[in-house]
């Protein structure tokens, strides 16, 4: 299990200079610059250059950066990848990943760019967004498609259009896709990310969706409004009781190690590898807050 927290990934339109100049002030786990759907065709070149230059600014040194690039079968995709790899982006997000071939083609393009610009081979990670029925059918192959993948994500707006339905408050239409993505990600040992909640004024609806995806087991969610960051982190934060229990588990495990016993018990329950790992993960999440 990767220990990096990626609960909140804040989308920032790559063509918006003001947002690009200020999004580092928010406490998101990752900033996700967009060169794809939020950028008009005639601004693709200048958005690419804005993000290229922003990525090299010290403002973004201490925050994980993701860029959603245009598909490689558009006239913009290749230039997007070359520019972002040269600028040192942490993660390239592939939009509309339908097949394993999409992952392999992007991996080849990234590798070519790393060689061209002298970047360490394999240093640019990938995140594949699945946004169609075909993509969900191929989720297992996609999730296992590259060692560069940190995770797979659901893109719900295109997915529901493909299913010929629309999003509901309960999200029943997304349940199969969410479970498929989660299952494929976990089996491949990578992270799973949920889609955006588009109605940024509806706090109650956002919290309901965030609780649902947290309960299912997702690692995080894409966000479109900075106001959603703290709300989401609160949903993902462990309670004080969770933290107390995790500390007790770690202490019991350390005591067991000192005494040379492989397995120890806490309050009559066995404490073994998975329990200890979950306790460490709880304490990691608690660093950025405990549920009030």
């Amino acid at each position: 299990m990767s220990q990096k927290l990626r609960r909140s990934m804040l989308f920032v339109p790559g063509s918006n200079a003001a947002m690009l100049s200020s999004s580092f002030i928010y406490d998101a786990d990752a900033i996700m610059f967009d060169l794809e759907d939020s950028v008009s065709i005639r601004e693709k070149d200048t958005a690419r250059l804005l993000v290229y230059n922003a990525l090299q600014h010290p403002l973004y040194d201490d925050i994980e950066t993701v860029v959603r690039v245009n598909s490689l079968d558009t006239q913009f995709g290749k230039a997007d990848v070359l520019a972002m790899v040269k600028a040192g982006v942490d993660v390239i997000r592939l939009a509309k990943t339908d097949t394993l071939q999409d992952v392999l083609e992007m991996e080849m393009m990234i590798e070519q760019a790393e060689m061209e610009f002298g970047r360490e081979l394999g240093s640019t990670k990938m995140l594949a967004a699945i946004e169609s029925a075909m993509g969900i059918n191929n989720a297992v192959a996609i999730a296992n498609g590259s060692k560069r993948l940190i995770g797979i994500a659901l893109g719900a707006e295109d997915y529901v259009r493909d299913l010929r339905t629309q999003r509901s408050a309960e999200g029943i239409e997304l349940l199969f896709a969410r479970c498929s993505i989660l299952q494929a990600a976990r089996a491949a040992g990578i992270m799973a990310f949920d889609t955006v909640y588009s109605d940024s004024a509806n706090e109650e609806g956002f919290l309901q969706e965030a609780s649902l995806i947290h309960g299912l087991g997702f690692d995080g969610k894409s966000l479109i409004n900075p106001r959603q960051i703290e709300l989401l982190h609160h949903v993902f934060a462990p309670s004080q009781a969770d933290v107390d229990h995790a500390i007790a588990v770690i202490e019991a495990a350390e005591e067991g190690e000192r005494q040379g016993t492989g397995v120890v018990s806490l309050n009559g329950k066995m404490v073994d590898g998975p329990i200890i790992e979950r306790a460490r993960w709880t304490l990691e999440r608690a660093k950025s807050g405990i549920k009030r």
């Binding site: 003001a18 070149d45 804005l50 230059n53 922003a54 610009f117």
Partner: protein, 100 residues
Amino acid sequence: MEIFQRSYAGTLESSDLLVEVAPAYESSIEVEISSSVEKQFEHAIRRVVMTTLDELGVKSARISINDKGALDCVIRARVQAAVLRAAQGEECHQLVWGAI
């Protein structure tokens, strides 16, 4: 890089700038700057513009900058975009990334 046509990049929104690039009559670089923070930062803006033009190999151009308090990285990006549009037109996506 040679400037063939008048081109623009950017906006007049806060934290952004509008860059206009046009062919020069003589072989020289003329830069005109107006800025909401002109008194304090005109020198710094001019330096970023000149460095960016130099990196792109622009020897002759008329540049007009209308700045609304943009960061250095935004100024660089908008100047690069305007120059590429002025030099390459529709081919502005075919930038050789090693060159900048």
